[in-house]
C-alpha cells in the first residue's frame, strides 16, 4: 500500500526520537528495551515499504516482545502459584 511521503518522514522521525530518548535514559541494553525495539521495527517497516517484510517482521517482533515479557513475568507467576520457591 502506498504511504504518503509526509507520514513516512514523520514515522521515521518519531522512531528516531524514541531511540534518542532511550539512548539517554535506559541502562538495560538495547535488546531488553521494548520502546527501542518498537522504534527500530517501526523505522524498518516504514522505510522498507515492503508488504512481505512487514508480513514476517511484525509477528516476529511481537514474538520477541512476548518472550521479553514472559522472562520477567512468568517466574513471578510460578512463585505466586507455589510452583517455584
Amino acid at each position: 500500500m502506498a504511504i504518503p511521503a509526509r507520514a513516512d518522514v514523520v514515522g521515521v522521525l518519531i522512531g528516531c526520537g524514541v531511540l534518542a530518548w532511550r539512548a539517554t535514559v535506559d541502562p538495560a541494553g538495547l535488546w531488553h528495551d521494548w520502546p527501542a525495539i518498537a522504534a527500530l521495527y517501526w523505522i524498518v517497516v516504514v522505510r522498507s515499504a515492503s508488504p512481505r517484510a512487514e508480513r514476517l517482521l511484525t509477528p516476529a517482533v511481537m514474538t520477541y516482545l512476548l518472550v521479553l515479557f514472559a522472562r520477567g513475568h512468568l517466574p513471578a507467576v510460578w512463585r505466586s502459584y507455589g510452583w517455584m520457591p
Partner: protein, 579 residues
C-alpha cells in the same frame, strides 16, 4: 435458599426485560451499540431498584423483588411492553466461541470459589454492603475507613447479587457483568472503526482477557466497572448517541468512582472530534437524535440521579459532595502521607507515564486484584498491541485515529490526576481495549499475527488462574470449604465465636467479621480512651473486639486498657475481651 434463588432469577429477568423495553424507545438501531446500551440500562435499573429499596428500608429479598416487579409494571403502564431481544448477538466464529466458553467456565469457577479478599474491598467497599443487608436499608454507619464515604454505585450492584441469598457466594457476579460490558463496548468500538463482526469479536475477547480486567472482575473492586463505563461512553460517543444517553452513562460512571471522571476529558475530546467529523461518517446521528430525544433525556436524568445520589448524600451529611476530599487531598491520618491526590500534578503525570512504559507494562509481578506494581495490561496488549497500534493508525481511516486521540487524552488525564502509588495503573484499564482493537485490525490483514496473539492470550489465562493475594494453601481451603462457610477469615486466623463483635481500627478486614451470611453484628468503636472504650462495648452488648497491629492510635488505647485490667488479649490474633 431456594426461595432466594428463585427471587434472584425473577428479579434479574425483570431487569433484563425492562432494559429491553427501554431499548425499544432509546436504542440506536445499531446492534453493536444497542448491546452496550442494553447492559447500561440493566445497570441503571438495578442501581435504581437497590437505591429505592435502600431508601425505603426494604432492602431484602421480598422488597427488592417487589421494587423490580413494580418497575416492570411502570414500564408496562407506559406502553413499553416489547421485551424481546431485538438484535442479533455478535457472530464470533466457532473457534473463538470455544475460547469464550472456556474463559466463561473459568470465570464461573472463580465466582463460586473466590471470596472477597482485597484490602480495599474488605476495608471500605463491602462493610457498607454488609451494613445495608443487615439493616435492610441504607445506613449512616459505613465503617471507620477514611474512604468509606466514597460513591458506592458499584456496591449497589454487589448488594443486588447478595441480597436475595443473604450470602456473598456470588457477589463477584457484579464484576463479571462489568467485564461483559467492557467486552461489548470494545466490540462496538471495533465495529465503528470498520472491523467485520468476527474480528470485532476477537478485539472484544483480547480486551476481556486483559489480566487486570480478568482478575479485577472477581476482586469486588470497582475499577473494572469504571473501565467498562469509560469504554461504554466511548462506544456511545462514536455512535453519535444523543446527549441524554451520554448523561445516563456519565451519571452511572461518576456514581461508581470519581476516577471515571478523570477519564472524561478524553471522552470529551473524542466527542468533539466526532462532532467535527464529516456527516457521512455518522449517518445515524440525525435519525437517532430525532427518535431518541425525550426517552434519552429521561434516561439521562435517571442516570445522573442514580450516580449523583452519593454526592448529594455526602453534601447533606458531611457538607461536601466530595467528602472526605479536601485541598490537600486525602491523608493517612492527620499529617500523614497523601492517599488520594487532589487536582492535577504534571510531575505525577511524567512519573506515572514513565513508570508505566518502562516497568509496569512488562507486568514484572504476579497479577493481583489490586494490580499491585503491574500495569495489568497483559502480554497481548504489550507484545502485540504496542506494535499493532502504529500500524493500525497508518492503515485505518480517520475513525481509528480519532478514537486513539480520545483514548490517549483519557490516559493522560487519568495519569495527571492519579497519585503515583502501587496501584494507580488499575485506573487506566480501559486503555488495553484500544490496543486490542489494533491487534484485531492488523491480524485481519496478516494472519501470522494470530500466533503471538494466541500465545499472549494463553499467558494471560495462565497468569489469572488466581490472584497473588490468595496463596495456594488459602485457595485449597476455599475449594474444600462448603459454600455457606467459605471465607478467608480462618486462613488469616480471624476466628471468633458469638454473633456480635467490636471493630477497632481505621482500616483493615472489617468485612470478614460479618461472616459470609451476614449473621454477625459488627460494631465500629470510636473511643479515644480506655474507659470510654469499655463503656462503648458494654452499651453495644459486646464482649470482644478485634483490632489491627497497624492502628497505632487504637493500640495505645488498648495497651492502656490492658494495663488497667479492662481488656485482656485472646490469642492467636488481635482479639481482646472485656474483663
Amino acid at each position: 435458599v431456594i426461595a432466594g434463588l428463585v427471587a434472584m432469577l425473577i428479579a434479574n429477568a425483570a431487569t433484563i426485560a425492562g432494559a429491553h423495553a427501554l431499548l425499544g424507545v432509546a436504542g440506536t438501531r445499531r446492534p453493536a451499540t444497542d448491546l452496550v446500551l442494553l447492559l447500561v440500562l440493566r445497570l441503571l435499573l438495578v442501581s435504581l431498584a437497590v437505591e429505592v429499596a435502600g431508601l425505603l428500608g426494604i432492602l431484602h429479598t421480598a422488597g427488592v423483588g417487589a421494587v423490580a416487579i413494580a418497575g416492570l409494571g411502570v414500564l408496562w403502564a407506559l406502553g413499553l411492553r416489547d421485551w424481546r431481544p431485538r438484535f442479533p448477538l455478535p457472530d464470533a466464529g466457532r473457534l473463538l466461541a470455544v475460547a469464550v466458553a472456556i474463559v466463561a467456565a473459568r470465570l464461573a469457577w472463580q465466582v463460586w470459589f473466590f471470596v472477597p479478599y482485597t484490602a480495599d474491598a474488605l476495608s471500605y467497599h463491602l462493610p457498607k454492603v454488609a451494613e445495608w443487608v443487615r439493616a435492610a436499608a441504607f445506613t449512616r454507619e459505613m465503617g471507620l475507613d477514611s474512604h468509606a464515604t466514597f460513591p458506592a454505585g458499584f456496591e449497589l450492584l454487589e448488594a443486588w447479587w447478595v441480597v436475595f441469598l443473604r450470602h456473598d457466594v456470588v457477589i463477584e457476579m457484579a464484576g463479571v457483568e462489568m467485564l461483559l460490558l467492557a467486552a461489548a463496548a470494545t466490540h462496538a468500538l471495533a465495529r465503528h472503526v470498520g472491523l467485520p463482526s468476527r474480528w470485532a469479536c476477537l478485539a472484544a475477547f483480547v480486551a476481556a482477557m486483559t489480566p487486570g480486567l480478568q482478575l479485577g472482575a472477581t476482586s469486588c473492586l470497582n475499577d473494572v466497572a469504571v473501565a467498562a463505563l469509560v469504554l461504554a461512553t466511548a462506544a456511545l460517543v462514536v455512535a453519535g448517541a444523543p446527549l441524554g444517553l451520554l448523561a445516563l452513562v456519565v451519571g452511572l460512571g461518576l456514581g461508581v468512582k470519581p476516577t471515571y471522571g478523570y477519564a472524561l476529558p478524553g471522552l470529551v475530546v473524542l466527542w468533539m472530534l466526532e462532532q467535527r467529523a464529516e456527516p457521512s461518517g455518522r449517518p445515524a446521528l440525525g435519525a437517532m437524535a430525532a427518535l431518541g430525544a425525550m426517552p434519552a433525556l429521561v434516561l439521562g436524568v435517571l442516570g445522573l440521579l442514580a450516580g449523583g445520589f452519593w454526592y448529594a448524600r455526602n453534601w447533606l451529611w458531611f457538607g461536601s459532595p466530595v467528602h472526605p476530599m479536601g485541598p490537600g487531598g486525602i491523608l493517612n491520618g492527620v499529617g500523614g502521607p497523601v492517599l488520594v491526590q487532589y487536582g492535577p500534578s504534571w510531575s505525577g503525570l511524567l512519573t506515572n507515564l514513565r513508570d508505566l512504559l518502562e516497568h509496569r507494562i512488562l507486568d514484572p509481578h504476579a497479577y493481583s486484584g489490586l494490580s499491585r506494581d503491574v500495569a495489568g495490561f497483559g502480554a497481548a496488549a504489550f507484545a502485540c498491541g504496542t506494535i499493532a497500534l502504529p500500524l493500525a493508525l497508518r492503515d485505518a481511516d480517520s475513525r481509528f485515529r480519532r478514537l486513539t486521540l480520545g483514548f490517549l487524552a483519557s490516559l493522560a488525564s487519568v495519569l495527571l490526576l492519579a497519585l503515583h502509588d502501587h496501584w494507580y495503573a488499575r485506573f487506566v484499564l480501559f486503555f488495553p481495549a484500544l490496543l486490542a482493537i489494533a491487534v484485531a485490525w492488523v491480524a485481519r490483514g496478516n494472519r501470522w499475527v494470530l500466533l503471538p496473539t494466541t500465545a499472549a492470550l494463553a499467558l494471560a489465562f495462565l497468569g489469572t488462574l488466581k490472584p497473588d493475594e490468595i496463596s495456594p494453601t488459602a485457595l485449597r481451603s476455599l475449594v474444600d470449604a462448603g459454600w455457606r462457610e467459605r471465607t478467608l477469615a480462618a486462613s488469616h486466623r480471624v476466628v471468633w465465636e458469638g454473633d456480635a463483635i467490636g471493630y477497632y481500627a481505621d482500616f483493615g478486614e472489617a468485612y470478614w467479621l460479618y461472616r459470609p451470611d451476614y449473621s454477625s453484628r459488627v460494631v465500629y468503636l470510636r473511643a479515644v480512651e480506655a474507659e470510654t472504650l469499655a463503656q462503648e462495648m458494654r452499651a453495644a452488648g459486646l464482649r470482644e473486639l478485634y483490632t489491627l497491629t497497624g492502628s497505632s492510635r487504637q493500640r495505645q488505647v488498648i495497651a492502656d486498657a490492658e494495663r488497667r485490667g479492662i481488656l485482656r488479649r485472646r490469642p492467636p490474633q488481635t482479639f481482646y475481651e472485656l474483663n
